[in-house]
């Protein structure tokens, strides 16, 4: 076979040839637009809980905000903190921005976005897991960060510069197509509709869809306390006694601190710059978790011990102080509904008992 040049083609003919591709892009684009216009329906069936909590908080000016990781989302009920006051002013309107899996970096970013009108008080429910540099939560860059946040992370935390830029870029890329972005919501909505139309067709998926819808509704109209039924009603003591299987917990493995912790300074500066008081609550965990991770627990507490010297009040919400037992937990780290009620009431009283200018650790 002798080499021969490719058949000559004119540009116009080439473009005409690509008409099927044009049809494809056009049709997909229209479908995508339809998915974008109806996004609230799909978001309701598969909420992006980071974005939903930030949006929920932003909806109106708040008197106080509770922030932290999943121990905060499951452990603080703003409605149970009625009577909270700061500098003699009652704080009636609060919101819990608990980010499941979130790190201190994500938490500090979330505060910035969640409070366009600065609240009077920010209560940070701190957990040892928030500051473990061995872990980073991709959902933060995907869902919460904007370009300025990414730039700040790159400046502040050189160790995760590439990781953050990559996750952020992936998150932006996913948003290019509404169908891709809302694919889980679309699937859940379809399962819900199919099950309603033909009971028994997909019961498990429909159950998941209904659970997610309820969660989305609770986040939209409530104050950020929207525990899953599993967390709210479960009891760690009973599950332990029944030798129930627990999901592997590796959030404190390979524990090291320093990088995430830099974002505590960012949180403090944000508060100071807006005249917002900042109080830190050391979140209570089970004795089992403390026994399994004595090193991380001690390292984390040592970090908190430094804060009062900088004028940041630290409330030690230890089990003994709150009279928490394993019956108040859903698993080793998350409180159930009863535990959340105890912690919320205790925090309210502890904050109220603080000198108005702050400064003393309990």
């Amino acid at each position: 076979m002798t080499p021969t040049p490719a058949a000559p083609t004119t540009p116009a003919r080439n473009w005409r040839k690509l008409r099927p591709v044009l049809w494809l892009v056009l049709a997909f684009g229209l479908l995508d637009c339809a998915a974008r216009w109806t996004a609230p329906v799909w978001e309701r069936h598969s909420p992006d809980d980071y974005a939903a909590r930030v949006e929920g908080c932003r909806r109106e000016p708040r008197d106080f905000i509770l922030v932290g990781g999943s121990p905060v989302s499951e452990g603080f009920d703003p409605d149970a903190m009625t009577g909270l006051a700061w500098q003699g002013v009652p704080l009636a309107n609060g919101y819990a921005v608990g980010l499941p899996g979130g790190t201190l970096t994500d938490i500090a970013v979330a505060v910035r976005h969640a409070a366009p009108t600065p609240p009077r008080l920010v209560i940070y429910g701190a957990s040892a897991t928030d500051v473990n540099d061995a872990r980073n939560e991709p959902h933060g860059p995907y869902s919460l960060y904007d370009a300025a946040d990414v730039a700040q992370v790159c400046r502040t935390r050189a160790d995760v510069r590439v990781w953050t830029v990559r996750r952020y870029a992936e998150g932006r890329f996913r948003r290019v197509s509404a169908i891709y972005r809302h694919r889980h919501g679309l699937k859940m909505a379809a399962a819900d509709a199919l099950e309603a139309q033909s009971p028994g067709a997909c019961p498990q998926a429909a159950k998941e869809a209904i659970g997610l819808r309820d969660y989305a509704d609770a986040l939209r109209v409530g104050r950020g306390y929207a525990p899953a039924a599993w967390f709210a009603d479960a009891r760690y003591d009973l599950r332990k006694a029944a030798a129930a299987p627990f999901a592997p917990f590796d959030f404190l493995d390979k524990y090291r601190t320093g990088s995430h912790w830099r974002y505590f300074a960012a949180l403090r500066e944000w508060c100071a710059g807006r005249g917002v008081a900042l109080v830190v609550v050391e979140m209570p965990v089970t004795a089992d978790l403390e026994a399994k991770y004595p090193g991380p627990t001690a390292e984390f507490r040592a970090l908190l011990d430094m804060l009062p010297a900088d004028g940041i009040p630290v409330l030690r919400a230890r089990r003994e102080a709150l009279n928490l037992t394993d019956a108040d937990y859903a698993d080793t780290i998350h409180l159930n509904r009863a535990g959340a009620a105890k912690l919320s009431a205790w925090t309210r009283d502890a904050v109220n008992a603080l000198p108005h200018a702050g400064g003393g650790a309990r």
């Binding site: 021969t4 008409r19 494809l24 169908i179 891709y180 699937k187 997909c202």
Partner: protein, 480 residues
């Protein structure tokens, strides 16, 4: 890298842009060859040298056969090519199986042999690659095609990435003429490629994988835990799964090839409409059937040597066909089963054909239905053989298929079968249903207008994005 993955789509986009961006034939083919080798070398990279060595051997053998002065020399080089291809195929694919059985046999004879199992990972697509290599050198030997002088051209023919992993098995006589000049991609090819690729994705990700997850996998893993009704659903589901999985791959391979301007052969012609086992094999995995016919069956004498000889040839052909799929007893049994059925069908067909009463009966719709049902039963039993993990489970599934009732020993599935299974099966057989409607005289267009087909493909892509499981299972035929 599998077709139904994001990494493949990125890879494909880059290769298409590079390929069509280059003007010169040799540049284009070099890019396509490098892309094909990259596609092959991604997982696992250490087998690329095997494919390269085979390519080189067959290329040289082709040239030597073409240039040999005497028949003896031509035969010697053909033999070298076949030995190299079959040697590697046997070495990689059948050595562990042979050793395992040698250990068992030695144990029975009281001779201790180390039971250490040989773990040899099969190079991706080696069964397809070796068959294409053999077909090339045989075709050159038969003077059906001239030997390819350009190594790039030959290497691209055997390594063209859309069909590298799971076929269809492309014959040199069909593919090489297309390579004379880089084929110009037509608008129809672009549209057909889009439709085929979208259809293949739907078959694989929305029908085959969910069927496996919902019913086929659980039931075949433990048949005794399920009812006889669940067995029947699982067996039919398995038939639809394997068809959608393999034909989905072929559709995608053909679609992608069209975007480069190449045409690959069809591999399926609505196989589940077959009304005899011979008809089934004329509709299922056509490229393999044709290869075995032309390079094994005919050289053995085909049907020219009397009834006994033909029966032997058919049995040999189908045993080889079974073993080509996999080195295991169930594949051997599958081949033998089909061989016996073919021999029996041939005997029956020869006995009744030409008798007016029989011919009249066989021309009726009722007889067609009976023949279809009997054929379906035959290939379903065959499919049980290749999926079952143990013989007792296979027997139980076959008994259920034949109408026996069983109570499960443990209730793994509270309802007989999840309702979407029936919908998935119906969707998987939709093409067959359309053909039946057409045969009934309803005017169904052979091809819808291009915009309609492409818009339907866009909807299919959107549906795949939404409903496909996060991680696709490996294509079944890639494992062969």
């Amino acid at each position: 890298m599998i077709f139904a993955s994001k990494s493949f789509l990125v890879f494909l986009a880059v290769v298409l842009v590079l390929y069509h961006g280059l003007g010169r034939r040799d540049h284009r083919y070099r890019v396509l060859l490098l892309a094909s080798w990259l596609f092959y070398a991604v997982v696992p990279p250490h087998y690329w040298p095997v494919i390269f060595a085979l390519t080189l051997i067959d290329y040289v053998a082709g040239l030597r056969i073409d240039r040999a002065q005497d028949e003896r020399g031509r035969r010697r080089w053909l033999g070298a090519s076949i030995a190299a291809n079959l040697g590697l195929l046997i070495g990689f694919k059948y050595t562990p199986f042979a050793y395992e059985n040698a250990v068992t046999l030695a144990g029975l004879l009281g001779v201790p042999l180390s039971p250490a199992t040989l773990s040899i990972v099969l190079p991706l697509g080696i069964s397809y690659h070796t068959f294409q290599g053999i077909s090339y050198t045989v075709d050159v030997y038969r003077r059906q095609i001239p030997a390819v002088t350009s190594f790039t051209d030959y290497a691209l023919f055997v390594s063209f990435f859309p069909q590298l992993a799971a076929g269809p098995i492309v014959r040199a006589v069909d593919f090489l003429p297309q390579m004379a000049a880089p084929p110009t991609v037509t608008r129809a090819q672009i549209a057909d490629g889009i439709v085929l690729f979208a259809g293949g994705l739907v078959k694989k990700l929305l029908i085959a994988d969910p069927l496996d997850q919902l019913v086929v996998g659980p039931v075949f893993a433990d048949p005794f835990a399920f009812t006889d009704a669940a067995h029947r659903w699982a067996v039919v589901g398995w038939a639809v799964q394997i068809y959608c999985d393999f034909s989905g791959y072929t559709d995608m391979a053909r679609g992608v090839s069209k975007w480069f301007g190449f045409e690959l052969p069809e591999n399926f012609r609505l196989p589940y409409l077959a009304t005899s086992i011979a008809d089934f094999w004329r509709r299922w995995h056509l490229s393999l059937s044709a290869w075995l016919r032309d390079y094994v069956y005919f050289p053995m004498g085909g049907s020219r040597g009397g009834e006994l000889r033909t029966a032997f040839n058919l049995l040999t052909l189908f045993v080889l066909c079974g073993l080509w799929h996999g080195a295991a007893w169930n594949w051997l049994a599958y081949g033998l089963f089909n061989g016996v059925l073919m021999v029996l069908h041939r005997g029956y067909d020869r006995a009744v054909t030409g008798r007016p009463a029989w011919d009249a009966l066989r021309g009726t719709v009722g007889w067609a239905l009976v023949a279809w049902a009997a054929t379906a039963l035959q290939f379903l039993v065959g499919l049980i053989m290749i999926r079952t993990s143990d013989w007792s489970g296979g027997v139980r599934l076959t008994q259920s298929l034949l109408g026996q009732s069983f109570e499960p020993t443990a209730v793994a599935l509270t309802t007989p079968v999840p309702p979407p299974v029936a919908v998935l099966i119906a969707c998987g057989l939709a093409g067959h249903a359309v053909e039946l409607v057409r045969r009934a005289g309803v005017p169904v267009p052979a091809a819808w207008p291009e915009p309609v087909r492409v818009v339907a493909a866009a909807a299919a892509f959107a549906t795949v994005i939404v409903f496909a499981p996060g991680v696709s299972k490996t294509f079944l035929y890639v494992q062969f």
